[in-house]
């Protein structure tokens, strides 16, 4: 798709907006609809759009496959790590009350952090699946 000028210009306009919207859904999930799952999918859609318009190779230069594998594991690690931290702080597994002095603040913090873990894993896995499927037809 080297000569699709309109697509390329539109993609450059839209991709930052999509990423911004994903971050909004991610961090506003406790007040409005949304959360880690939806934000992760929207975030990965920005990169898939980039790959569709500018080609798979340039997309893989933006976000290499090795980084995606680390990110996919990192999200699960963050989530389970929060659970382990609460164990060390004397609570039950994933009992966020003990994360802060104030139980409500602890809950809020815990929810934000695990939603971040969910978002990272979901977006990385969606991109892994897309790149693997799309890359297979290339060779």
């Amino acid at each position: 798709m080297k000569h699709d000028l309109i697509l390329r210009v539109l993609a450059k306009l839209l991709i930052p907006v999509i990423v911004l919207f994903a971050l909004y859904v991610q961090f506003h999930g406790d007040y409005g609809p949304g959360g880690g799952f939806q934000a992760g999918v929207i975030f990965s859609v920005a990169f898939i759009f980039y790959a569709l318009v500018f080609g798979l190779d340039s997309a893989e230069r933006v976000i290499p496959a090795g980084v995606l594998r680390v990110l996919a594991s990192l999200g699960v690690l963050i989530y389970a790590g929060v659970g382990v931290i609460t164990l060390f702080k004397g609570g039950n597994f994933l009992d966020y009350d003990v994360l802060s002095q104030n139980p409500v603040a602890g809950q809020h913090l815990g929810i934000l952090v695990i939603e971040l873990g969910v978002g990272i894993t979901v977006s990385a896995v969606m991109l892994i699946i897309f790149f693997t499927f799309a890359g297979r037809g290339r060779d």
Partner: protein, 185 residues
Amino acid sequence: MIDILIDVTLLAFLAITAIAILRIHNLFAVIMLFGIFSLLSAGVFVVLDAADVAFTEASVGAGISTVLMLGTLALTRGHHEKPPAHRPWLPLVVVLVTGAALVYGTVDIPGFGDPATPAQQHVAPRYLEQGQAETGVPNIVTAVLASYRGYDTLGEVTVIFTAGIGVLLLLGRRRRDKASKDEQP
């Protein structure tokens, strides 16, 4: 009144899309119709006040899975369904009987939003009354998903992670397998 109108319109479009998916044999068009079907389902969820579910359906069902199915279609050769090899009478009977049983089952389902149903009386009142005070999160869906049901969500994230690993193990070896590259179709 306007609610009923929106419900009937959305469900009619869902039915039309489903019939179109059955009738059309061009797989590219079928995938596009699947996306439209998901988007209409998301509309139905919005009407049912399930904004979070609608969000997921719109982004995953209409967005990502359409792209993945298109990617799969690009890898396969035929873009048309094969004509059916046998007559559809047995599947038709099975579908009709199952559908009739399901419609019969809906007679016993409690009314939409009925506060007296068992599902609304177990833990839901506690979440609705205490949720914001206990977690400080106004969106009850997020509070339930991330805090009260944190184990389940950890399990879901692990499932997604496992799916990614599975795809990588099955399909993601193209770079290292230089030798077997020539054998691939």
